[in-house]
């Protein structure tokens, strides 16, 4: 696996004091913590920072890590020496950080032994499994037509040696017609396994839409920005408009202005009470890039005699 230079990650010297290490961590945590950070790769960086701090802040782990020596660079192929880890005992377990989020490098050095919670099968302990929650991403079209979607769930699980492994589970779920973001689908018995002969918990999937290239969804209502020309808006026009259910003909009334919303009732998400579909007019100004176009504009300027800034009194 690949070596990780934890000192480098925190930006401190190998001989740094515990205080320096704490300060470096705090500074980087404020910068990269996913809940507060504006950085693009925050989550990944924070995991690295968190892991480095976990090792270096604990004198025992830091000593063990230093024992490896300083001849490796981050990314280099590495294997711990065979008699690694003899004589060191890790007390105090781990920080609240998700044990399953450690790198292979960390796992090979420190394992998860200190934290294993025995769940013996013969303790006679029976409990209903916990409910799980997850998000399922669907397309807007799925809400109109229904669809089968798959998702992969990852549960950290302790194996027999007390190491954490990710147990992947793929589920296929029928998405019924008419669902919308924020609703939940409950799948009975698909949550965490129960203990002993306890029943498994339920899985709750929260529905979320993938961003759509042309539509915007708000609740059950769907919005489409429709570009139109100034003459279509001023004079009115029949236009064809896309909707998730197919093309629709609409009449743009004469005298339409920028931002005008036209509602197609019940053409939003087909829930029990269907949402509406709104077409929002965006008037686009054609460029005056040919002589004919320029002339047409000049004529319109003369004919229209129109001052949109009148109310500003400038």
């Amino acid at each position: 696996m690949q070596y990780k230079d934890y000192y480098n990650t925190l930006g401190v010297e190998r001989g740094a004091s515990q205080d320096d290490i704490k300060k470096a961590y705090r500074r980087l945590a404020r910068k990269y913590h996913p809940d507060v950070s504006k950085e693009a790769d925050a989550e990944e960086r924070f995991k690295e920072v968190g892991e480095a701090y976990e090792v270096l802040k604990d004198p025992e782990k830091r000593a063990a890590y230093d024992q490896l020596g300083n001849q490796w660079q981050t990314g280099e192929q590495f294997r711990p020496p065979p008699d690694w880890n003899t004589g060191y005992e890790y007390t105090g377990g781990f920080s609240g950080a998700d044990a399953a989020a450690h790198s292979d490098f960390f796992e090979s050095l420190f394992g998860v032994g200190g934290r294993a919670r025995a769940r013996g099968a013969d303790t006679g302990f029976h409990a209903h499994g916990q409910d799980s929650h997850a998000k399922i991403l669907i397309d807007l079209e799925d809400a109109y037509q229904g669809a089968a979607r798959s998702l992969t769930l990852r549960h950290p699980q302790l194996d027999s040696t007390g190491h954490v492994a990710f147990h992947k589970r793929q589920l296929n779920v029928n998405i019924p017609k008419g669902v919308y973001a924020g609703q939940h689908i409950r799948l009975k018995g698909q949550g965490e396994a129960g203990a002993g002969s306890g029943q498994a918990g339920d899985l709750y999937l929260e529905i979320e839409f993938n961003p759509h290239s042309i539509y915007r969804v708000e609740g059950k209502d769907v919005y489409l920005e429709l570009p139109v020309t100034p003459w279509e808006a001023a004079l009115g026009e029949q236009v064809t408009v896309p909707t998730p259910e197919g093309r629709v003909n609409m009449k743009i009334p004469p005298g339409s202005t920028q931002g005008k919303q036209m509602r197609l009732k019940d053409k939003g998400i087909p829930a029990k009470v269907a949402g509406d579909f709104y077409v929002v007019l965006q008037i686009v100004v054609p460029p005056a890039d040919t002589d004919k176009a320029r002339e047409a504009y000049e004529n319109l300027k003369q004919a229209a005699d129109f001052n949109p800034r009148q109310h500003l009194e400038v």
Binding site: H184, I185, L205
Partner: protein
């Protein structure tokens, strides 16, 4: 022809306004009820209902609870600090939009 179809698609129940009780929230987030009581005290979480037995949390409260846990742990916050951070983060989302 070998059928390589994955597992058959599951059908679930669609829930309109899915709410969690205090107990369900504790189970889902693996926290002690006392912690949630404190978060409600500091208005970090605002369930519907008058008494703890009647509390109804929204599904997004689960994510909010996990965020509160992470922030407290990673930034060594006390409850009032946490409440302030959560409020400022909420305001930031409102100013710039999510994500």
């Amino acid at each position: 022809m070998i059928n390589n179809d994955p597992a058959p698609a599951l059908n679930g129940e669609v829930l309109e306004d899915y709410c969690l009780s205090l107990q369900q929230l504790c189970h889902s987030a693996t926290v002690e009820p006392e912690f949630i009581l404190q978060l409600v005290e500091y208005e970090v979480l605002e369930p519907e209902g008058e008494r703890t037995v009647n509390w109804r949390f929204k599904a997004e409260d689960l994510a909010r609870l996990r965020r509160a846990e992470r922030l407290m742990r990673d930034f060594e916050l006390n409850l009032s600090g946490l409440a302030l951070v959560m409020q400022l983060l909420d305001e930031r989302v409102e100013l710039r939009g999510p994500g």
